[in-house]
């Protein structure tokens, strides 16, 4: 069963990892360590587990592969290009549509009149008056 001394011991254990214990705290820790086996074991476990954790840290061996820089640079270039296109795409699209419309308008205005093929050509076709007629062209009742 843990008493208030054990709780204080546990709290101090965590605190003195990062700072020096005061003489008073040191005296308390020594007294409690001698009196409580469970806390002494916990202290040992805390120290060992933290040491193991620190030893398991990656050091300089955790550097990236030699191609890392090149890969990042290439991806950065692609990303920047893509972002640039995405940023300008509404303007580019608008410009393309406007240019298309302008081209269509200019084409329509400058299109030459075809006297035989288009409707306009047919309307303008001059029909010479003549008395000669083809009987087949008349309705049946008039023939």
């Amino acid at each position: 069963m843990k008493g208030p001394g054990c709780r204080r011991f546990g709290r101090l254990l965590s605190e003195i990892v990062d700072r020096e214990a005061t003489p008073r705290e040191e005296a308390f820790l020594g007294r409690h360590r001698a009196a409580c086996d469970a806390c002494a074991r916990e202290e040992e476990a805390a120290s060992m587990s933290l040491n193991l954790l620190r030893c398991a840290a990656f050091g300089t061996e955790a550097d990236a592969e030699p191609s890392f820089d090149r890969r990042v640079l290439r991806r950065a270039q692609v990303t920047m290009l893509r972002d640039g296109v995405r940023y300008w795409s509404p303007a580019l699209l608008g410009g393309a549509v406007a240019a298309g419309l302008l081209l269509a308008a200019v084409q329509a205005m400058t299109k030459p009149v075809d006297p035989t093929g288009s409707h306009l050509g047919e309307a303008r076709r001059v029909v010479k008056p003549s008395l000669a007629y083809n009987a087949d062209d008349l309705p049946k009742t008039l023939r």
Partner: protein, 185 residues
């Protein structure tokens, strides 16, 4: 050209040099981009490897962090803040991956219970760290493995120093209990 740029600015202090590079990257200078990558690569990959315990995944995350930082470099108000900003992105990405991994691990453990403690220290440590929540694990690794100060951990994780202190206390206790349990088996 890369070497010439480095040589010419050898006398300048590293922070000032980095500010110059950041300013050049903003203008689209690719050589400066390369210099920034070279400068921060090792620290980033090492931190990610310590957090994720996987070097290949660490490289992926570092790459992502670089790309994200470069993409948003224009939004950075202070050129001096780049290294901290990059580091924060990297830690955040690692935490996201840890959360994802932990969720997968919980699912897996439900289906198939643990086989017992591993022999090698690194493997044991990895297994123990896997059982800590992402926040506690990150705090513990940044403090104990990366040896950052409380203030630095707080800045990287964007939490108050008091939160770092309490998380660290909890993380150390949990880690100790996990280690004792693993040794019992």
């Amino acid at each position: 050209m890369l070497d010439a740029a480095r040589f010419s600015s050898a006398a300048v202090d590293p922070a000032a040099l980095e500010r110059q590079w950041v300013a050049r990257v903003r203008k689209g200078d690719e050589a400066a981009l390369g210099l920034l990558i070279e400068r921060h690569r090792m620290r980033l990959v090492r931190t990610a490897a310590n957090l994720l315990r996987d070097r290949h995944e660490a490289e992926d995350v570092s790459q992502e962090a670089f790309l994200k930082a470069f993409r948003e470099i224009a939004k950075l108000r202070d050129d001096r803040a780049f290294s901290g900003y990059l580091y924060r992105i990297c830690v955040r990405l690692c935490m996201d991956r840890l959360r994802l991994k932990r969720a997968e691990l919980v699912e897996f453990d439900r289906a198939e219970p643990c086989q017992g403690p591993a022999v090698e220290n690194r493997v044991v440590i990895e297994r123990l760290l896997d059982q800590l929540p992402a926040d506690l694990r990150t705090t513990l690794v940044l403090r104990e493995m990366e040896q950052l100060s409380y203030d630095e951990v707080a800045a990287v994780m964007q939490v108050p120093v008091g939160t770092v202190r309490s998380r660290l206390h909890t993380a150390r206790e949990r880690f100790r209990h996990l280690w004792l349990e693993a040794n019992k088996d």
